[in-house]
Amino acid sequence: MFEAIAFYLFAFLTIAMFFIAVTTSQALYALTALAAGMIFISAFFFILGADFLGAVQIVVYSGAVMALYAFGMMFFDTTRDVKEKNGNKYIVVGLATISAVLVVAIFAAPIVSQNITALYPMVEGAGNTQEVGLVLFTKYLIPFEVAAVMLLVAMIAGIVLAGKQMDLSLTLLDDKEIEEIKNKKMKKVL
């Protein structure tokens, strides 16, 4: 009973927030709605007993990602109204609806739901965080490490692309211009 009420409440809130995030013309509203939606999603994770995942959701999304977006927004100066030309709305809605129906049909098909068996069953008598740790550092150790490397690469990439020489970007210069800059640097050293 309690679970059902919680589910419907958060389902409604999430859908509403995401709907606003998608449709509003105010970038600030969109950002706020998105952040709210993320936090509501973490509620589902808690309901489902995935406490650790819920915590990560709040920390990573609502903390890190939203902060990044916020900074980005300030940089791009999109606080005012976003003007967008929109094409045929019916195509957009139609395609989305059809795909939704199809996905539901696939999920609901007995052939899918009946064939799922637990590969890594929950460990009895351990908390969710403990279980996650057990699986993550045994079976998924290598993907975990790879993900860590990927995050490192992404971080460096983000810093290189956005941070270095804010008035000048190496990636968008051709070889000649890069050569000139190098020569300038050499002169400075000399």
């Binding site: 094409g87 195509i91 059809i98 795909s99 199809l102 696939i106 098909a109 052939i111």
Partner: protein
Amino acid sequence: MEFYLYLALFAPLAGSLFAALFGASPKTLIAGLVPSLLLLTSFVSSTILLVHILGGGAPIQVEMMTWMATGDLYIPFGFIVDQVSVTMMMVVTVVSTVVHFYSIGYMDHDKGFNRFFSYLSAFVFSMMVLVMSDNFAGLFIGWEGVGLCSWLLIGFWYHKESATWAANEAFIMNRIADLGMLIGIFLVYWNTGTLQYAEAFALMPELPTDILVLMGIFLFIGAMGKSAQFPLHTWLADAMEGPTPVSALIHAATMVTAGVYLVVRANPLYDLIPNVGLFIASLGAFVALFAASMALVNRDMKRIIAYSTLSQLGYMFVAAGLGAYWVALFHLMAHAFFKALLFLGAGNVMHAMHDELDPFKMGGLKKPMKWTFIMMTVASVALAGIYPLAGFFSKDLILEVAMIEHHYIIYSVLLFTAGMTAFYSFRLVALIFHGEERYKLFGVHPHEAYKFMLIAMAPLLILAVIAGSFKMTYFEMVTAVLPATEYHVHSVVTYWIMTIGTQLFVILAIAFAYKKYANSSVKVPDGTSKMENRLCYKILSNQYYIPYIFEEYLVKPYRELSTVLWKHVDMKIVDATVDGIAGIIYSTGEKTRDMQSGNLSTMLKWMVAGTVGLLSLAVVFGLAVRYSAEIKAILSGLGV
């Protein structure tokens, strides 16, 4: 010995390739000389092989390489030099060597000099493959190779419409016959499982007769095309559009005899089916008479000789059909020598008369062209079969064969034809070399050919005279592989009556020809004389209206059918389908260009559309798997 085999086979190819190097450059003597010398090498090698075989050596068989090996099908490039093929090799190399050297003079002023030698040597190579192959597949390669070279050489002067037409006619007629040949070869393979002569013929006696008859008939259809037997004979006369040395080599001495060679080679097969043999003999006799009658009135020097070739091929088929294979091969050899000589002589005359072909416009040429006169007279005497020249031994032998085998109708036809042969040969000689010097009316100043051309012809002259004396040596050699039936008329009296009678008949025909055409009253016909308006003359000079019939009843309906098919089937169905497919692809491209506008937003939409498509496929397949039993039931209900 294998070395000589390869040398004999590949020297002409080397010559051809060498001459081909100069194909696009202006005339160089070396392009003619080198192939000729290489051919001489080939001739010498063939002679060495002949000596080897004559000396009782075993036939040489080599397998150069595997050509095809798939499953049970195994076809090697194998060659054999046995008594039969060595005879053919000698004929081919002798005549072609002479023709090569002769051509250096004959083609002297021609722009295509280098090209000519390339083609000519390529022809010799193909012919060598044809006669030396030890299996039907190799034979077929050579068969097609000579067909191709013949086409190239007939159409050598491709700027002349008539030459290209004649080349195409020859090629297409041969193609029709080759289909028969190919079916014959397939039949051999299906029923014996091999294409090697020795193995296939060894298995044949066990096969049912009707299959053997089919094989024999289809192989003979191929032979009919190559050897220009009725009704596929029209191409040979038209093939005279080619240069005269080509006519001498291909359309008299070698290629057209390939059909005879095939029948001789397949003698174990034809021995099993005497009825087909009888048919071949009858057809041969018919063609002999038929061609000789056309030669009687023709007014084209080369065509007369071509018809005479046709007639002589008929003789050969009579002999082969009656089972006297060695006689056929012997006549083939003798005929090659004197017919090539005759053609080359005609080439000299043509040169002297500036390509004039009508013998009525010549006359009295014996003074300016003494040697050519002698050579052509000797060749004609040999052709007529007067003792002791080559033709007497070979041709009279065929008459005897017909007599001994009790085919009296064939015998009398052949005898009559022998008279006609003598008549038209000497009609030609009389018109060209005797009588009044009519050429003066046309302002021509004839001159004798180059000396080296005459010397080149000399070997043929000698062979035409003495070839008959090889008869017994030849018989002993060749009967090692061919049925050794000696043909002797049992009663001595009959023999002498026959021989002397034939000789007298022939001499009378010659005398008649001289009387009629060697006097001073012969005029250039203008279509007004009484004889020219006779029905039989018209029929003969129009070649029995056979080309006309072909044109009217085969070519024209076929052309109309083709036009209908082209306009209605090809354009409206085949082309429309192809164009339609292209059109659909083009218009799809045009219409889907908008997709690739470079606008990322549009692309995202298309991406979603693609996802939807894939998802629906997933659903469809999921349903299909879920309800597979029901779907199968429905399909089986529909009868799928």
